[in-house]
Assembly symmetry: C2
Homo-oligomer: 415 residues x 2
């Protein structure tokens, strides 16, 4: 059961927005045993959309389209679909009520272009969109299914979960896909591959191993495809255990969970609290943690001590330390971590100070120099990194490595 | 001059990673007058890659491929390209030196699979990759250009800027593209479209207007295509001024700049300093600001006061206020903003407290309730929002609206 996702919109093609919808949809489909064969982003252009629909209909059984359903002139998906299916339009009464309800609740006038959002191609089943004025649409045509949804993420998410997935389950006889992820840190992709080659070479044809390197980590993904989900799960577990046994010291998280979620879950289970003192990561580390529901059970908060003044006043870093060693130094991050632990009354703390770039580097401390400390009441671990990337990558690498270092301390030295 | 970006990798198709490379490449190409016609993400599968290459070669003149160049088994781009061009391999001496240099600098052993990264299809020009072991490759074939780069973002970025763009400029006779962006807030897409319809209807055929709604904002984008860049710029300026004149009170930023960068630039020009007190945004607001180089000129830092304890100890929010009104209240965000202003000695401060969800809502304060305050020494502005989205969207909306409110205060009430 293969699918193609087609995203429509010039904003993607000029790089003004990153297409996050496709990844989200792909994830949801995979969880339900539907493989995505291709993702195509095409322009707001009738002929180009038609070409993409034709090409996709030859490759796959299910075509999911997002974008181009707004009320304005540049939104042409609906008309193009009607042309593709060679049908006219009808005004959907329920969709019209929905448009009126939403606009009234925002105290906005109801214009004719709003009402026309309830016009849909005659052959579609309307998927009511609780979160927006553009309805989702489900088409069945020459034994293929086409689904069209708005590109606004939370509207698309609502429609996917509440309308599309249940209908797909009812419509198709879905096969199983089982994924297992192993997150490693501190080992290069090639060396990892060389080390686990015996397991990789012994995998049956329906189990695939992928290497996903990212910012000093390599995520290994085993994917098994077949009919019997329970059997696939057992097989994947067997092979993943074999892999872990070959590189135990480099495995950071042995499940499909982001690193920061693994940290939160581990600390939550142990009843531990965390605070932070962020300088060069500038809130990113905290954001990584707090994007997860329930993070407040573990994460108390902390300081974004971007300026030296705030390193002193918020965390008690001494003037002498800053003068003698500078803000980016082992001594400073140590005092920052200790200050956070004490002032914010947590069991563990993380501090980060570095030169994210592009400017600010010196011969002794070039751009990309980052000091990280993690502390509990007994011990402070520090580590220096020299990252090669751009500003945003350096910030991300610093946050990730801070979490890896924290896990190391927690496992070695329970509070 | 049209191009297609093909990203190769199952990790994109199962939704494990978001394809940020394509947006970045598209932006760079657009700046240089190259339009992206389509972005296609395909699986690590030889036949599928060949099919995508064939389809793209019919649509466009330039095909940019990322991904699948790692040293491991699942990386098949290079072999597939050699098959597509029907050529053999040669080992590139410079690329080999580069592999050895990089691995030695990481103190890693040099394995045969590493050295084989220097093997390239015979017909390619090697683009030396300073940041990684996989070389970039440039092919010319039947009057089309193919470029293959690693999927690792900072390697791809280096190659694009240093190698690919200069070669494209030399190879093609590029036409001009001019974009202008107008960011609006507080006005619905339909009403905006209705209001500016007179301008939209008067646009010449080579200037397009797009509406990009996102989290309570609508970005308007005028794009002009042609030969004479200066003339296009003048025309775009003329039409954008006409648009702004129709909705002046809703225009937040009248250039191609993210909201937070506009805030930073404005404050920097005025010599103003900013601090924050983040609760439900949990560091995201600070991250938005600090992702930009030079943000430290304006942004001093602040508190991530996730717990009530830290709202009291870091910001001086009173126990009475928290008891009487709760953490998500006008009174609390007011005290948070005033506390940040005082403790962190800034000219302006922002505070945010809300229920990001999914849990934590009550009948009086449902999930999505967010209070925001912005303050200077003379005045505190507060505003309550009721966001409809999921956790991450609520966090993003809160941060964006906080910045919009800050701009309002700065413009109305200079410090």
């Amino acid at each position: 059961m293969l699918t193609e996702i087609i995203t429509i919109g010039d904003e993607i093609l000029i790089g003004q927005i990153v297409d996050t919808n496709s990844a989200w949809i792909a994830q949801k489909l995979n969880e339900n045993g539907i493989r995505v064969k291709q993702i195509s982003s095409v322009s707001d252009d009738r002929d180009h959309i038609l070409e993409a629909l034709n090409a996709a209909s030859k490759r796959v059984d299910l075509i999911i389209i997002t974008g181009g359903l707004g009320p304005t002139k540049d939104d042409i998906t609906k008309k193009t679909l009607a042309g593709y299916f060679n049908v006219g339009f009808r005004r959907d009464e329920q969709a019209l009520q929905n448009v009126r309800r939403i606009l009234s609740s925002h105290n906005r006038p109801i214009l004719e272009i709003n009402e026309s959002q309830a016009d849909v191609p005659e052959n579609c089943i309307v998927l009511q969109n609780k979160n927006g004025t553009a309805p989702g649409m489900w088409f069945e045509h020459r034994s293929k299914v086409y689904v069209s949804m708005p590109g606004v993420p939370f509207e698309m998410m609502y429609l996917t979960e509440e309308e599309v997935i249940p209908r797909l389950k009812a419509h198709f006889n879905l096969s199983a896909i089982v994924h297992h992820n192993i997150l490693t840190a501190g080992i290069g992709e090639s060396f990892l591959a060389e080390t686990i080659a015996p397991v990789e070479n012994s995998l049956p044809s329906y189990i695939k191993l992928a290497y996903l390197p990212k910012l000093g980590q390599v995520r290994l993904r085993l994917s098994a495809y077949g009919e019997d989900e329970n059997r696939l799960k057992k097989e994947v577990e067997y092979y993943s255990n074999q892999i872990v046994a070959l590189v135990p010291e480099f495995v950071v998280v042995n499940e499909d969970k982001p690193l920061e979620k693994a940290v939160l879950d581990y600390m939550h289970a142990e009843g531990l609290k965390l605070s932070v003192a962020e300088s060069c990561t500038g809130g990113y580390l905290s954001h990584l943690l707090t994007q997860h529901p329930g993070s407040s059970e573990v994460f108390l908060g902390g300081a974004i001590s971007y300026s030296n003044e705030l390193k002193k006043s918020m965390l008690g870093v001494s003037e002498d330390t800053l003068t003698a060693f500078g803000a980016v130094s082992e001594e400073t991050v140590k005092e920052m971590a200790e200050g956070a632990l004490k002032n914010y009354k947590s069991d563990y703390s993380i501090s980060v100070s570095g030169i994210a770039g592009p400017g600010g580097g010196t011969p002794e401390k070039p751009t990309g120099t980052v000091w990280i400390a993690v502390a509990n009441k007994n011990r402070v671990l520090t580590r220096k990194f020299q990252f090669p990337g751009r500003r945003l990558q350096n910030i991300e690498r610093a946050a990730v490595n801070a979490l890896v270092l924290l896990l190391k301390l927690i496992r070695e030295e329970p509070a």
